[in-house]
């Protein structure tokens, strides 16, 4: 038996052991997964608004809680797994899954939900004593305060089973991971929430395969080849992971091509995430002198401050990369410019040509360019 065959057998054995340990309820259930999208969900405490295909939790109620609910009617025994899909949850957020049953209709049951990388981990309820009878309603409770609104895309109740578990794991391993702000720092390798990381599984299979192959080789006095066999298995494990990564890259290439293909430098920037900001800065640049001048850039979001400044170079820009601050009035000199992009706290009186920064003394300034939520002012 070749080392590769040992590896394949060990991998299958590992998956089998995982299934034995993890399948909640029946191995071959007859029920099928039930999904509830954002439109089937409603905020019953706090406030939630539809944002694309998700509900954004925008506020909590007086008790500091927001609750998003779905009306359901299924047998608890058929559906031991509940998986909420969402993003933007703080790592230390207090999130709980709530449900009501026909067995004890007045009682609201709850369990905590783990947040991993801003997303919600699935909940297994097979052994929960309160997961009984028919489930007449499920909900997600988030305790505030809420700085950035977390989003809930939907919820699935799953029958589990061997097939379902394997399908879920494969979905996690091969989930598309598009570029994001964190890509430069970390590569997840599939879905952000993974119950069984593929690298670990492959290494366990490799160790078992090496032991098995080694034992056989020892009996046949071929043990000298063991390092080569292990090295080959290591490269195979690496290549399997890399194939997943390559498929992800290919998917990303197609996305990038769809967004930027056939465009020149300027059109690409207009098509980028900060396209509206780039367009505004282009107009602002046209109003600025040809030789570099001092420009203070302010915006609520660090992203817009940094990008706004970047698009303005080689003008001599100043922005706060880390905090949402405004320049002191005393630091603004005649001839300086102030580029404001989605920033509260500034008042401009066009008639008097006066600019007031966060209630400070007014300074003389002229509006050079004004658009909704954005302006370029020249200090006089």
């Amino acid at each position: 038996m070749s080392a590769l065959a040992w590896f394949a057998a060990a991998f299958v054995a590992c998956v089998a052991v995982y299934l034995v340990a993890s399948v909640p309820g029946a191995w071959f259930p007859s029920a099928t997964t039930q999904s509830y999208g954002a439109r089937a969900l409603a905020a019953v405490a706090g406030a939630g608004t539809l944002d694309g295909d998700a509900i954004a939790i925008t506020a909590v109620d007086a008790s500091g809680t927001a609750v998003i609910r779905a009306n359901t009617d299924f047998r608890s025994a058929d559906y031991p797994i509940v998986a909420w899909t969402g993003f933007g949850f703080a790592e230390d957020a207090d999130v709980r899954f709530l449900w009501r049953t026909d067995y004890a209709p007045s009682k609201i049951n709850s369990v905590p939900v783990s947040v991993v990388a801003g997303r919600l981990a699935p909940i297994v309820l097979a052994k929960n004593a309160d997961w009984v009878g028919r489930i007449t309603g499920i909900a997600l409770a988030v305790r505030g305060p809420i700085a950035e609104p977390p989003h809930i895309v939907g919820v699935e109740v799953k029958p589990g089973g061997a097939k379902g578990q394997i399908a879920d794991r494969f979905r996690e391993w091969f989930a598309y991971e598009p570029w994001s702000g964190s890509s430069i720092n970390t590569v997840t390798g599939g879905a952000e929430v993974q119950e069984l990381p593929l690298p670990t599984l492959l290494v366990i299979a490799l160790v078992i395969a090496a032991a098995g192959w080694g034992a056989l080789a020892w009996r046949k006095h071929r043990l000298a080849a063991l390092p080569a066999a292990i090295a080959a298995l290591f490269v195979v494990a690496w290549a399997l992971l890399d194939a997943q990564w390559a498929a992800n890259l290919a998917h990303q290439l197609a996305d990038t091509r769809a967004r930027y293909g056939g465009k020149d430098w300027r059109e690409r920037h207009l098509a980028a995430e900060d396209g509206p900001l780039f367009a505004f800065v282009e107009k602002a640049r046209a109003k600025l002198p040809a030789t570099p001048v001092r420009v203070f850039v302010v915006a609520d979001a660090a992203y817009f401050r940094g990008r706004g400044a970047y698009h303005l170079y080689p003008h001599n820009v100043l922005f706060d990369p880390f905090r949402d601050t405004l320049p002191k009035a005393s630091s603004l000199k005649p001839g300086d410019y102030l580029l404001v992009y989605h920033r509260r706290g500034l008042q401009y009186n066009a008639e008097e040509k006066k600019l007031r920064i966060e209630g400070g003394d007014p300074i003389s300034a002229e509006a050079v360019l004004v658009e909704p939520g954005a302006a370029l002012l020249k200090v006089l």
């Binding site: 991971e177 970390t186 997840t188 390092p227 690496w238 290439l253």
Partner: protein, 462 residues
Amino acid sequence: MDALALLVAALLPWWLGVALLLVLRRRLADRPGAAAWTIGAGYLAGAFLLTVWMRVVSLAGVAFSVWIVALPLAAVAAALTAIVWKRNRSEPRTRDLGLDLDGASRVLFYVMLAWIALRFAMLGIEMLSRPLYPWDAWTQWATKARVWYELGRIAPFVRQDAWLAAQGAAYFDASPEYPPTMPLLQVWSCLVLGRWDDTLMNGPWWCIGVALTLTVYGGLRSLRAGALASMVGAFLVASLPLANVHVALAGYADLPMAAYYTTAALALLRWIDRRALSDVACALLLAVACTQVKNPGWFWAATLVPGFIVARWPRHGVRIAFAGFALALLVLVALARFKFRIFNYDLALNYAPAWTDLAESYFLLGNWHVLWYGAIAAALLAWRSLLSPALAPLTTIVAGGLIFLFVVFGFTTASFYISDQTTVNRATLHLAPLVVVFTVLAWQAFARRWSAAHAQAPATAG
């Protein structure tokens, strides 16, 4: 036209660096992997020298232009090429073959080569399609490139207070104290393109990725790894997901840092192995380059010193090196008592690394495939060879690198970046390609020892 410009922008530093290394070397192909080594290390050396020349030009008050930058360097490269050509005409021809492979090994070798080629094709297309994307790239690196390209000279970047006081004479970005090497390479690309283009200017990142892969292959070959083992090393480096991201989303200095550091270490190991002038010159040049690519490069370059000590004084070198590590740690502890600040990180004695998050990053997520499992296994299985004369310098350098990472993430404010999975992986990227080299060579040492022991077993039993 842009494609031609990009080609020229890449070829000039490549030509310069390769010609320089060939002049320093006695023969064109003196051992297996020489060609790959020379091409890879040549680009890194040439690119760094190009930026040094740009600094000289700026210091002299001459405005940047393609010709001002390119002509003198092309003249130097041509002169070096002439010397090499003349010298090699009078010497017997040598061939750089060394593909001692047959059957399945040969097929595997070419499959991995094709895999690497496909990967770099994909990365190149992605990199040349997307406007500058990652955060620090447009808050602290390309900021300098844009200003220097438009002004035609290196203008100073300063912190906020100094900027306010300078009345327009100095510029500001998120990290004004960062070294100029990578922004100058972007300026060079734009000079050749004839316009500011923050997509195409990132060509050097792709070239650096290719150069790193070539130096790992060539370096391993010259350190007596087999052709297949060396190709495995190159394949592992070329397919490291986080390294790939840093080519596709170019603009950070972490991949260049990794390339310069790995190649400097490999050049040092080559010098230890055969004491050739070209290798020590290459090691010194690239170690200096490390300090000019990113500020932590000073520390990375310092980790090469223990490797040199171990090689220079084989009898007591290991003890001296590890005593040096201990002394350095003591000094850091002493400095931490005074709240010492170094490169914007506060040294502190509140040792609390986030081990769980670190383990997640190294072993569970997709950053490194199974690199760290392999490196630990290789170190454990080859432990009896790790301090042998052949491996001790590399072991010491890698140990120094790991200690550096441990100190940074255990004793400075950077420990925060483990739990949010940010700087921890980028700092690890600096060392990761050298860990690949270590894994391959340590495994090879284990395999030799094991095979020698077990090849005799049947005969003894019989």
